[in-house]
Symmetry: C2
Amino acid sequence: MSHGTDLPARDHAAQDVHAPGAARIVISVDAMGGDRGPAAVVAGLVASAAKNHDIAFILHGDEALLAPLVARRKQLAGRCEIRHAPRVVTMSDKPSQVMRHGEGTSMWSCIDAVKKGEATVAVSCGNTGALMALSMIRLRKLPGVNRPAIACLWPSRNPGGFNVMLDVGADIKADAEDFLQYATMGASYARNGLHLDRPRVGLLNVGTEEHKGRAELKLAHDMIAASALTGDFEFVGFVEGGDIPGNRCDVIVTDGFTGNIALKTGEGTAKLISDFLKEAFNATFLSKIAALLALTSLKRLQKRIDPRRVNGGVFLGLNGTVVKSHGSADATGVSAAIKLAFQLAKSGFNDRLAARVATAGRAGQDAPRDEATRTEATRIEARNGTTE
Amino acid sequence: MSHGTDLPARDHAAQDVHAPGAARIVISVDAMGGDRGPAAVVAGLVASAAKNHDIAFILHGDEALLAPLVARRKQLAGRCEIRHAPRVVTMSDKPSQVMRHGEGTSMWSCIDAVKKGEATVAVSCGNTGALMALSMIRLRKLPGVNRPAIACLWPSRNPGGFNVMLDVGADIKADAEDFLQYATMGASYARNGLHLDRPRVGLLNVGTEEHKGRAELKLAHDMIAASALTGDFEFVGFVEGGDIPGNRCDVIVTDGFTGNIALKTGEGTAKLISDFLKEAFNATFLSKIAALLALTSLKRLQKRIDPRRVNGGVFLGLNGTVVKSHGSADATGVSAAIKLAFQLAKSGFNDRLAARVATAGRAGQDAPRDEATRTEATRIEARNGTTE
């Protein structure tokens, strides 16, 4: 496949972005494939529509199911177009099958609306692997990107309350040049999603000393350090697992295997402590009264660590933005994913990201700093010709 | 190097184990190299000695520093021998240097006491890489073990309150046969450390479906499944990050890179939430009163998730047990590591582990079930001849 010929209609996106309020930003939403079914998704749209007047939806799925769900919600009147798709991608479908036979599914239709420029960002609660596979073949990779990545937000000690981590599951491996692209893309996401002028990027490893870790990480360390100036980020070097929720950096770069396990470990630990906390407050009569007294404070804590509030992995490195919501997302979760999609659409994020990747690519080709950078550019070109 | 010639004096260990109370169990403790210095270590010994009359210590480090610290603690009178070691392994020392020039350090002396059979288990708060390197060259690997592993305990939803995870940082990579050995060794640790008759073992991956993950994980999946009966454990298949603090299994098997990052991510997340909780209770006058009312319950929660209470990574796969305490351990942390060392010494753990590994090895050689098992046995033998 070739790159750079059929980018999604940028003029359309630009119009939405640069005239907020004048035109509504359209989000393409997959109604099917989540664990809680289309009712939870529609409830999420309602919550978002109620809070935000600049948003509209194209909703993809079984029209016979969706039409009555949408019709009885007056907040969605005139703001939610239903697009019929007869088939559904299930959680057990293999990505390779969906890639070949995905046409006619709500997920395919959802991505296609972004490809055609009818919507700026796509949101789905469905099968992650299938969603990435369909996004890759329909939207295609940005020129210069070898492996797209999934970026997530993570509650942290930083003033803004969140860090960005990528990749958290697009691919199970990454080479040094992929890590460099993750750094560039993650920094761009942090600039647009977290409003940080010059994000601090860290490379995840088992120690902060430069001699530690796998060979590809040591190579990536030097490549990222050499690109920090061009990429407009600060490179803090190696970081450890404890820095993911910390304040040493804003963007954590890792491979999709490690990132996915770290993400699920963090979520599992937060859930465990939250459940222990509930047990602790139910333990005695006094502790129950205490819970009542501390209700407001505890609710604020709950909100800070509630994974539903940071729901939404963003696929980076494609010609269009796709937000992957948790499969088990309820209305609150879906609404959070839509809010993220809206923010990214409004900031014109994907165009900015594309420009950054292009600049990084040109910097690498025109003025290679060392052998590593030269090798990287060559390998990316070699791969782009063969991987799709 | 050859195996199987100079095992540590097992008779000595067996004597301690089988006559509790009759002879004290001796723990070898490195007083130096931790972030808080020897005073914290000595305070930890005092806490352990006060709670447990069946324990005695050999303490390694600068005698001029240690003698006055020990002399003013009457709980240690007659139970703590000081062994002078003029040098200290620092946190920044490279393992390769320590391997070559480690003689005369307190860490070397600490491990040597186990090698000589004077103590049953060694405990150190020092540099992990150096401790593993010295343990490898002084104690040597158990016959049949390719890569030793570090196992940690992890707060979980299981009835006993903890899961075992390994490897959490002995090596940055692992092959399929290493994963199989980790499963065998982890199950043995869970039987002796957590008193589970038939531990459930899970293999950490990015999904539970059998087609997911890296090639070596798919191979390991089949090898571990085939060895579950011999190894006296139940294999639950692939598990995810969320299962590390969960109750789907008791033992989580992973490579040292992923395990180290998961461990530190979990610790960092727990610390973040704990700090947020403190902030929440300090937010208002009412919430401060609430905190007072809930004090007992909150202290119980704190205890359940306090990383100091589960302090101690255990090195598995060597001719002798070594417990690595956190570098930043205070008296509570050191005491927890010593308690773990004592429990393992009392159960005769290392002899049992050696027997399990030997059985697994024989099972693989005498009655290979399939090609994978045969290949594994061959590769282990090939490696054991070359890696040391």
